[in-house]
Amino acid sequence: MTVSVQEADFDAGTEIAALSAGRDDVGAVASFVGLVRADKAAGASAGTDAVQAMTLEHYPGMTEKALQEIVTEAQGRWELQGVRVIHRVGRLLPGERIVFVAVASSHRGDAFAACEFIMDYLKTRAPFWKKEETPAGGRWVDARESDDSAAGRWATN
């Protein structure tokens, strides 16, 4: 199982260990955990307008397909021995884990590059939307240009 979209939390240590369990050819596992930040509200000044919770909506069916395509694209670009992507949906509180990506490879350069690539592509291509709850009410998070430019770095000419 490479890709999961779920309400449940995950344990990064268990997932990382699973990528090298029972084998002796994995040299490197790079991974990433994204979390809900209380101060993330767009344009919020410090201490005011904090995020109290976040709800993640997605497009069931397309989400899993899009994540799998991103993983397949990474597998074509680097020599990978295993990939694991978990994205949570539903209502999450500040400090809670949202997303997990881990990549196993013989070499650390490939593992790091593929892990960052998958996160960058996930941010711009996987159909998830965040709605923040703040004292001022609920609001949908705007897409950030910095995410588009992060994904754009990986374009092949």
């Binding site: 069916g61 899009a66 994205h87 949202i98 996987a126 939307w129 949908w140 897409a143």
Partner: protein, 84 residues
């Protein structure tokens, strides 16, 4: 021909609905044509014409507005994604 249309996130909320099944008139042959047809219903549907960087998926693949439609297609309209 009939297509299934889906809306997500802020667009879903603005339209007050997440999906509908729609029999297309003869002149509508692309997802862009479908977008224009829906937007022409007036408020709140004009959000489909005014949403910044509106995204479209055809059968769960991101496409441009010029993508051609056929009967049974699933077309989804949504704002830029913000997961991760």
């Amino acid at each position: 021909m009939t297509v299934k249309v889906l809306f997500f996130a802020g667009l879903r909320e603005a339209l007050g609905t997440g999906s509908e099944s729609l029999a297309l008139p003869g002149g509508v042959a692309t997802v862009g044509g479908l977008r224009d047809l829906l937007a022409a219903r007036g408020e709140p549907w004009s959000a489909l014409a005014t949403t910044k960087n509106l995204r479209v998926a055809l059968n769960q693949q991101m496409v441009g507005l010029d993508a051609p439609l056929k009967g049974g297609d699933e077309v989804a309209f949504f704002p830029p994604v913000t997961g991760g």
